[in-house]
């Protein structure tokens, strides 16, 4: 009986894999591009070194069988003593390349094909790229800055070399007291106050416009967040201006004067009571408002009626899994990651059947969603600044965040007057060498667009096999985590 079940399992698995690979093969070359973007793009580019080396012409340097082994598990290849592998590893500062055991051979071949086609058309792309980015990337250091730095350093060196002379001059000048340094410093302090406050306000209006706070939040709780932020900003802003003015004004006003004697004023309980109670009251406002905001954002009841989406983090990419029509994510097991599929989800469980795995996060406008986070390796943090959403993604510890997107990508592009704008998930917890490139696009769209897009995505288990009955108890292999 047991053998029979196992046999059935393996047949089932085999057929699932076969269908999956069939699916993939039938897709066009831009599947390779997609795979490259989702799996390789955070560390590699065709023409330039990013975290890993440039991939141009890599298909000529190594044969396909070797590349397959390397991509799937480079460490194993290095350990086996392969000289090419050891050389490649050492040439790149022994940075360990992520193992892609989760990719099928066909997928890797698609990626290699994509790299090959890109390498061959690279000269054209290069011209286009250089024309494109001329003003930003290929521009050398602004020459004025170079010269400024050179001049400053020459001056410094000159000063240091002649320091002895300078010292004797300064020394004698000090004795002569040509400068009343107390006066000069006091004046500089007041100038600093005026210029500094002016610069702060200038920055606030100029650079403040770059911040997400200058654009309305794209989520429901984001507006509550923004009002809490404004209150805090107003209160602290007032305190900042008053106390800085007092500090520098007193320092200027009460500068040393030999004719004057300081006031002996060691204590005043009334004053101290005042400036204990007033901050306490202000802080009470902040605490009460803050906790109201916090509990409304983190209220777990919201999650009960929300659409479930899993965001899976791994070095250095995000994978999104939709729960499908049943709004239930299939069970997963970290041991099965890369064995049965990318995210280690049990394909036999009833709840997994309709799950959908994608590399972009699409959200339906106005639909409350609960993002459930899971990590394969280290701690990541999913940060969606425009939605005022952030949650750590911790291996072995399920976390989640519930929110409702309220502005579509299209209308945000209009508001920002930037046709290329996209919402993003950034990784915001240091996670390895390519941490700074670990990202994916978030798209908020109307229900129609969303449904259309989701319909185009392949299900985890292709429809043909879902009809197969699953024995109860088979899912026990995999632990339920959600």
């Amino acid at each position: 009986m047991k053998i029979l079940i196992q046999l059935r399992q393996s047949i089932f698995l085999f057929s699932a894999l076969f269908l999956l690979s069939f699916n993939i093969q039938s897709q066009s070359a831009d599947e390779g591009a997609k795979l490259f973007k989702a799996n390789c793009g955070s560390c590699h580019a065709i023409d330039q070194k990013v975290v890993g080396p440039a991939l141009k012409g890599v298909h000529n340097k190594y044969d396909e069988a070797w590349l397959l082994k390397w991509i799937k598990n480079s460490q194993e290849l290095i350990k086996s003593g392969d000289s090419k592998a050891i050389k490649a590893f050492e040439e790149n500062n022994k940075i360990v390349m992520t193992s892609f055991t989760n990719l099928t051979d066909e997928q890797v071949k698609l990626i290699i094909a994509f790299v090959k086609s890109e390498s061959e058309k690279a000269p054209v792309a290069e011209v286009a790229a250089s024309a494109n980015v001329e003003n930003v990337e290929t521009e050398p250091l602004p020459s004025i800055i170079i010269w400024l730095l050179v001049i400053v350093s020459i001056l410094l060196i000159a000063v240091i070399i002649t320091m002895k002379k300078v010292m004797s001059i300064i020394g004698s000048a000090e004795d002569l007291a040509i400068f009343n340094w107390n006066e000069i410093n006091a004046t500089l302090l007041i100038i600093f106050l005026v210029v500094g406050l002016g610069a702060s306000f200038w920055e606030f209006f100029v650079h403040g416009a770059f911040t997400v706070l200058a654009t309305p939040a794209a989520s429901e709780h984001g507006t509550i967040y923004d009002s809490m932020f404004s209150i805090t900003l107003a209160l602290t802003g007032i305190v900042f201006v008053i106390t800085q003015i007092l500090l520098f004004w007193y320092s200027y006003r009460y500068k040393h004067d030999p004719k004057r004697k300081a006031l002996y004023y060691p204590d005043n309980h009334k004053l101290e009571l005042i400036w204990t109670v007033i901050p306490a009251l202000v802080l009470t406002v902040l605490v009460v408002r803050g906790l109201q905001t916090w509990s409304s954002i983190t209220d777990r009841k919201q999650a009960e009626s929300a659409q479930v989406i899993e965001v899976f983090g791994q070095q250095f990419s995000w994978i999104v899994r939709y729960a499908g029509a049943d709004n239930k994510l299939g069970p997963h097991d970290f041991r099965q990651i890369g064995v049965v599929n990318t995210v280690g989800v049990d394909p036999k469980s009833q709840t997994s059947k309709d799950d959908i795995i994608t590399s972009e996060l699409h959200l339906k406008l106005g639909q409350p969603v609960v993002l459930k986070f899971r990590s394969r390796d280290v701690i990541h943090s999913a940060y969606l600044p425009h939605f005022r959403v952030q949650m750590n993604v911790v291996p072995g510890l399920p976390t989640q965040f519930t929110f409702t997107p309220t502005v579509t990508t299209a209308s945000m592009r209009k508001t920002l007057n930037d046709p290329k704008f996209d919402y993003v998930i950034l990784c915001n917890k240091i996670c390895g060498a390519a941490h700074y490139r670990m990202t994916t696009t978030v798209i908020v769209e109307s229900p129609e667009e969303y449904n259309k897009w989701l319909g185009e995505q392949p299900k985890l288990v292709p429809a043909a096999t879902t009809s197969e009955k699953v024995q109860p108890g088979e899912t026990k292999l995999l632990t339920q985590k959600n």
């Binding site: 400036w275 041991r335 911790v394 704008f421 950034l426 700074y436």
Partner: protein, 607 residues
Amino acid sequence: MSNQHLNNEDHNNHEGNDQHKQTFISKYVFSMDHKMIAKQFLITGIIMGCLGVLMSMVFRLQLAFPDTPFPFMENFMGHWAKDGRLDPSFYLALITIHGTIMVFYVLTAGLSGTFSNLLIPLQIGARDMASPLFNMLSYWFFLLSSLVLVSSLFVDGGPASSGWTIYPPLSALPTAISGSGMGMTLWLIAIILFVVSSLLGGVNYIATVINMRTLGMKMTRLPLTVWSFLLTAILGLLSFPVLLGAGLLLIFDRSFGTSFYLSDIPADLAGGIERVGGSPILFQHLFWFLGHPEVYIIILPALGITSEVLATNARKPIFGYRAMIGSMIAIAVLSFVVWGHHMFVTGMNPFLGSVFVLGTLIIAVPSAVKTFNYLATLWKGNLRLTPAMLFAIGLVSFFISGGLTGLFLGNAALDINLHDTYFVVAHFHIVMGSAAIFGMMSGIYHWYPKMFGRMMNSTLGYLHFWITFIAAYCVFFPMHFMGLAGVPRRYYAITAYDQFDVFVNMNVFITIAALIGGAAQLIFLFNFFYSIRKGKKAEQNPWESNTLEWTTPVERIHGNWPGEIPHVYRWPYDYSKPGALTDFIPQNIPDEGQTDPLEETKPPVHA
């Protein structure tokens, strides 16, 4: 009474200064004299500080010009900067070691190690520390720890690169990042040695302050510096062992296959052993249980120094002496119940988060009291704007600016969108980094005559202050706006994101300001080392200060006072007291009719 006994005995030993011959080794190297140990801490701290600052210059260049190769870098960083391009994983190594050096080696050992050692015995009226041997060991453990950390820069795979907070699993899995190999092991060894050093110092400071005060030096007559050192030592004593524990468990996870901090890690990522059942968040709790008090371990001594420098140079008593002590105690106690505010987005229970919000924002009250008391101290003073005074004023300014942004980050709701962005970088570099460095500078300029018997050049001091002050604000203030735009910290480059392109110019500006600020430290270094030999000879009490260290001779003898230790008759802040002839009255001067504390301690004579 036993105090008096001890002191008299000491006094006999040391009368006639240096009867026992001192060799070069026992005087300068294995010294047990607290003043020499203070200098050792300071100079080691300065050297480590230079290293930390240089690292920041390298990664600031990378941040400002991510696509420009700097061929000169290859000369000293070798394969980590092939063709002049900094390697992304070495960028992470640089920020990690920069953070570690600045937080532990400069602002903990360099600041508190220097001034606690120098000032505690001198200001309380003691011949030396309770245990000079412990004191010496404390320095040598610190030096050893520094050497181990520096040596980790040269090992295969590079130094630790998972951020100074070394969160596992990144720090636990060598496959996750190249720095988590040998580099991480050395980092952990260095920190363990550091904790030992810090504990040896801490018990010593506490014992000395409690047991060895001179006659008449009641706790309510202690200078605020000593109070701050005492509280700092208590904080360290209670929190550093937790870091030690956290580090040991991490060593087990890394080297012996345990799973304290690891869960759901498949065998191929974790050295062939599947890891289940631990929690990466546990490490964060343990780390921040030290990590948060640590920021007060850094800032309290700086605030203590500021209190002393402000009062002395304003020629005015510190306003609200008891309130200052009270607020420091409040800060110290509260600092143990707020560590969770570093972890609001780890998925912690929202209710627990609320508790940490409450605690965190309550700390703002004693901090506000301190600020207002500083302002009240300046009010109607007679301010001598010496370099030390300017740095102290700068500290207050930073303390306000950085303290206020803490109210954003300490509020869990607001932290959601600010956590781990440049807003955080701006916040702690202002309130903990700049403010504490300014406190340290203030202390160096103020007590330099006590350490070296000479004065630092004040004109260079002014220059140093102004360039550093302006540069520090230019570097860190704009970072708030990057944070508000959602720019994450610890990013090698932000060029992959079109929406951050607006900050290209700001990054260039910040880097130039940082380079200028860094260059200004050369002025300080020159002034510091030049003045050791060539500075103007110091007078005994150059700032006309009240505290006891200025009653010791300029020669800085072993045992501190050539004769009897002075007795104390008053608090340390009698500046510009009405009716007095001078505008200061040192603590060892009795008022008319005041009896010697020695008499007070004798049992009353019955007729």
